[in-house]
Subunit: 332 residues, 2 copies
């Protein structure tokens, strides 16, 4: 059965790294149909809309989407697209690669970020000249669904240690947000206990102190939406920046994959962007669609090239996007 994959390059280096990732996907003999769609700053300039309905509908109806990056309009594009794929979890691995300069080379963590609620549910009101409010939302159902996913993730040995016994850590701020994060924490811990998965917890501020001091302490980390946003970006700083990090927005029977980096306007258009994060996002897409072995081959090829192949400027080399992509495809 053909899998329909929507491809949205977006803005800036998205237009360079997404084609690289598609080239990697095309190098396998798989039954994929690629459908191009538009979103982002350039789309807004051309059509008045950062995210045209047509793109939203294509994404909602696809089997999976590969997205690059959007500029100023990032939030207007990515937040509705997460909804379009009905995504309840944002999977964000942050791993230091051999041969890549990292502040904390021992870092190898995967954030499982709640992807629908918290402050992102976004009911905001301007109540007076002086006062605005935002209603933060936490439900037991979303918390439990995330927890079930986290348990399965750990049970399947998909955590960094590959060992179901590694369990996970819940990071939250339930000492202040007692009712909302209290609910989150309680439901996630309850699901872990029901399923016999080891779970410990950490206040999100304490976690922010401890992760840089002792990254090897952590593996799979389960968080509310904004905590996951900030803490996974912190982990990115420990592995050398956002440049190499992929992510997956996983829904019930749809998903969207995107590099964590942005549009990098300073180097956009020069053909020298690092395609690694987009290509690792394609590896996550392959695995999501059941092509586990192919996904692993992409990871291995990327790791090989990172350790002894051509490098783009961000990693101290002078190779082009095309050269790095060709080297990766070569190793598949």
């Amino acid at each position: 059965m053909t899998d329909e994959i929507v491809v949205i390059e977006g803005d800036g280096i998205g237009r360079e790294v997404v084609p690289a990732a598609v080239e990697v996907l095309e190098s396998f003999d798989l039954d994929f149909e690629f459908v191009e769609a538009e979103a982002g700053d350039a789309t807004k300039e051309a059509t008045g809309e950062a995210l045209p309905d047509e793109t939203y509908d294509l994404v909602a109806d696809a089997d999976a989407t590969l997205f690059g990056a959007a500029g100023e309009t990032a939030a207007d594009v990515i937040l509705p697209l997460r909804e379009a794929v009905d995504s309840f979890v944002n999977v964000r691995p942050a791993k230091a690669y051999p041969g890549v300069d990292a502040l904390r080379p021992e870092t190898d963590v995967v954030f499982l970020r709640e992807n629908t609620e918290g402050v992102y549910a976004g009911h905001e009101d301007r109540l007076s000249e002086d006062l605005s409010t935002l209603t933060r939302v936490v439900t037991s159902s979303a918390s439990r669904e995330l927890a079930e996913y986290a348990c399965e993730f750990v049970e399947d040995g998909r955590g960094p240690a590959g060992d179901p016994d590694e369990g996970f850590t819940v990071a939250h701020k339930a000492n202040v947000m007692r009712e909302t994060d209290g609910r989150f924490r309680e439901e996630v811990m309850a699901v872990a206990a029901e399923r016999g998965v080891d779970a410990d917890e950490e206040l999100m501020d304490a976690f922010a102190t401890k992760l840089p001091l002792d990254p090897a302490e952590y593996g799979v980390v389960v968080c509310p939406n904004l905590a996951g946003d900030v803490l996974s970006d912190l982990a990115a700083g420990l592995v050398g920046g956002l440049g190499l990090l992929p992510s997956a927005n996983v829904g019930h029977d749809n998903a969207l994959f995107e590099p964590v980096h942005g549009t990098a306007p300073d180097i956009a258009g020069e053909g020298i962007a690092n395609p690694t994060a987009a290509i690792l996002s394609a590896a996550m897409l392959l695995e999501y669609l059941g092509h586990i072995e192919e996904g692993q081959r992409v990871r291995d090829a990327v790791e090989g090239v990172l350790s002894d192949g051509p490098r783009t400027g961000d990693l101290g080399g002078s190779a082009t996007t095309d050269e790095v992509t060709a080297a990766i495809v070569d190793r598949l």
Copy 2:
């Protein structure tokens, strides 16, 4: 005129490091009257209340308070005490000291954290079996008051660079919390512009990536409440942990000073806790009460001892709390 200083040791190592800080304060010939008060886990056990009304009232009526740490009851103690001193800003310096092992020795930042609202305003509701909400609050008045303080702080050369031109950075999440953090961001930037203080901005997630990668880029950082909580704790990880960090909760004519660390139950009662953070909090108290020179002398003495004096176990030494305190007093 006598300044009344309430002293709350609290729990765990609070009972050891606060007396050390008081000893430092007493070594100056200043007109201070110290009043002891109780709060924390032990107080709750003894009286049923973590924060007795009597303590609250003493703190509210004092000129300043020195607080140690509380255990499980930390939030029940510190959040009302911030209110008791009418604190609108939490000042949190995070600096790496020469001779102290730090992941990022270049780190020298001061967080100015909004201290009254955001998610800490804490209107939470359990709306159904499944759903809880929290109302996050942002006002223009609190945002502007924080910004005025930040401008004065920078203008007075109190930032790490000591140079009014350094300006400050605002860290927020206004791309998602458009109305609330949008208001915060806009008001803070407007006050900076009115006063001719240089201000730039960073999304809080991007800030969490960049701070570990390039701490020297940042000096004074102005944040909403929870952002300040998490980002200042992240900075603590870069300078070697919470062990050395002081903080000030500054109000209109009252203030509370506390080390950022907790009760350290593993070493409490042994007389080996590092008193540095409490003593640096006392230095902030001295400066707050107008004893600028004395405050500076305490800082210099602490830095001297950190670089070539006796050290407690957390810094690889074997000195006791008393020995380190005596060495600091000796250098005053």
